[in-house]
Subunit: 341 residues, 2 copies
């Protein structure tokens, strides 16, 4: 009998989720009885993303929450190993929503998309949940639609070395912007400056965020790519220029706390005529999906952009990797490698 290790959601956390308490790895025997249209997948990679913390809440959110006692889901890259679906024969490599587990049955193959050339040496499979997947589209679409970037402007990106931030920064450089980033360690800051060629970057854990930002963006900020919220947002508001845009992508600093930081200088929105706009990546998929795949796909293949990933090894490590990512222990896009192709 084949065993299937999976991660089960156990309990709603109030602050950081704790492996073993709020979610845990379980092993069950794999019973598979495919119906017409179904496929059985062997999962290769799953993506761990901050939005999953929002699915650990017992409240209505923009995505359906995780179910207590059920396997958590994630976007993944997988191989079809049994099939009753002619579109997805055995051996097809696909992306789509799967479980945090080794094997998933996808009823009707719902939401799966085949990967055309899964052994392309220039495009690692993990890219399909990162730079070529949801985080990449998030960066590409929102920068364009909400940011309305113009050459010569200054963009400030928080969580800049992360899954979304590193793409925002590199696209911004291509567009001729002055690019400033913040991140949570000196090593990440070095990466921003040396590898991604940011114009300035700082470690937000050292010294005043506002003073660091003022030094990094003395002419002010035209676009703030907001990933973290709280004190960093307050500093950005202080430094925004007239008619600045804030791309409200995420506020990870408040996801794991019951006492969120209160932002006190929102009045700048008026005098500086700032626009803040929130979005969920799926809002822009239709409008930007095709251009995104073409542009970012070719930049990546040509080596025009790079993408740093942090790959946890094996499903057993998924819960720790998830909590680590929420705490900034990841360096680059957090994925879990479950198996080789």
């Amino acid at each position: 009998m084949v065993q299937n290790k999976s991660v089960t959601f156990l309990k709603y956390p109030q602050e950081y989720p704790v492996p073993g308490e709020h979610f845990a790895v379980e092993t069950n025997e794999l019973h598979v009885e495919l119906k017409e249209g179904d496929v059985l997948l062997r999962n290769l990679y799953i993506s761990l993303d901050p939005y999953m913390r929002g699915k650990m809440r017992n409240a209505k959110s923009y995505t359906a929450g995780f179910q207590i006692g059920k396997t958590m889901d994630a976007s993944g890259v997988s191989e079809v190993i049994e099939s009753k679906n002619a579109t997805f024969p055995v051996g097809t490599v696909v992306t789509g929503f799967v479980g945090w587990e080794q094997y998933s049955v996808i009823s009707g193959a719902q939401g799966l998309r085949p990967i055309a050339n899964p052994r392309n040496p220039k495009i690692p499979l993990s890219s399909y949940v990162g730079v070529l997947g949801m985080p990449g589209l998030t960066a590409y679409s929102s920068l364009k639609i909400i940011g309305q970037p113009k050459s010569g402007e200054t963009i400030f990106i928080s969580a800049a070395s992360g899954a979304v931030g590193q793409i925002v920064g590199q696209i911004s450089k291509r567009l001729g912007l002055r690019v400033v980033g913040s991140a949570g360690s000196d090593e990440k800051v070095d990466f921003l400056l040396k590898e991604l060629k940011f114009d300035a970057a700082f470690n937000y854990k050292k010294g005043s965020i506002l003073e660091n930002l003022r030094a990094a963006a003395p002419e002010g900020v035209d676009i703030y790519f907001e990933n973290v919220g709280g004190e960093t947002l307050e500093a950005a508001l202080e430094m925004m220029n007239t008619h600045g845009r804030i791309i409200a992508c995420g506020m990870i600093s408040v996801y794991n706390t019951t006492t969120p930081y209160g932002v006190r200088n929102l009045f700048h929105i008026i005098g500086k005529r700032i626009t803040i706009r929130g979005f969920i990546v799926s809002d822009f998929a239709q409008e930007c999906g095709t251009d995104f795949a073409k542009d970012v796909g070719s930049w990546l293949a040509n080596g025009d952009i790079i993408y740093k990933e942090d790959i946890a090894d094996g499903i057993d490590n998924a819960p720790d990797a998830f909590v680590g990512m929420l705490q900034g222990k990841n360096f680059g896009k957090q994925v879990v490698k479950i198996a080789d192709l």
Copy 2:
């Protein structure tokens, strides 16, 4: 010799300005020597507006600040009583920027506009600094451009009985919105419900703002017309619907304090895909000025909208009226009547 009473700016306040300390009435003799193009005005009304508090700061703002030792300025309605400008002969009634004073010399008649029919019994002169002036244009333009109102939606308006709020509410009713307002006294709430026909209204000083808003807008808020900031903004964010718009017009609750309220639930901007946009009325004057004058002018003349004003009597009372307006003692648009036509 003619005396000219005027209000002089003395000192930057940290919290509420204090008459006599931060600004005071002075009396000087009027010396007038008009140059070619100049006019001498006898001021009839001046407008007292919250933005003036922002001009009492020693910091760069979107408007030039008041100068220590100089007469404060305001938009007003005045009669030309001496003229070296053929466009503005003696007897012309004008609107434009004047001093907080009885008589003003306007060099080159700069910024003055004649009022066509100043004795129109349907249009009191004070309207030109209120419903037909800056506050009216503020309401009309931002509701249209930022609010993008659609019939059937719910709008929530704070400081709803004030200069801007009462117009926003009445235009919103005309557009078929469900209109909810908050104000600082039961008397103001009665006015909103009974005279302006708001669908719901509450006194934000009684009980929880959030619970009051939830009861008043059980289906949530599509447009929030933001005049006050702080706790009211926090409640509005809690109640916003998906794709809601926040028209960031003002945040008066933070103008007179050194310890502004920190807003803790900005993360709703993302999940609910909220757009918050700040503006200054002059941004929209070009685009909306003509339609505004036509629409609001005819609505007012036809009695389709009403406009409540709070008229302080005489320049001596201007400083107290200004502080009172910042504290919510005004009931309707605060103006100062300096003289009869």
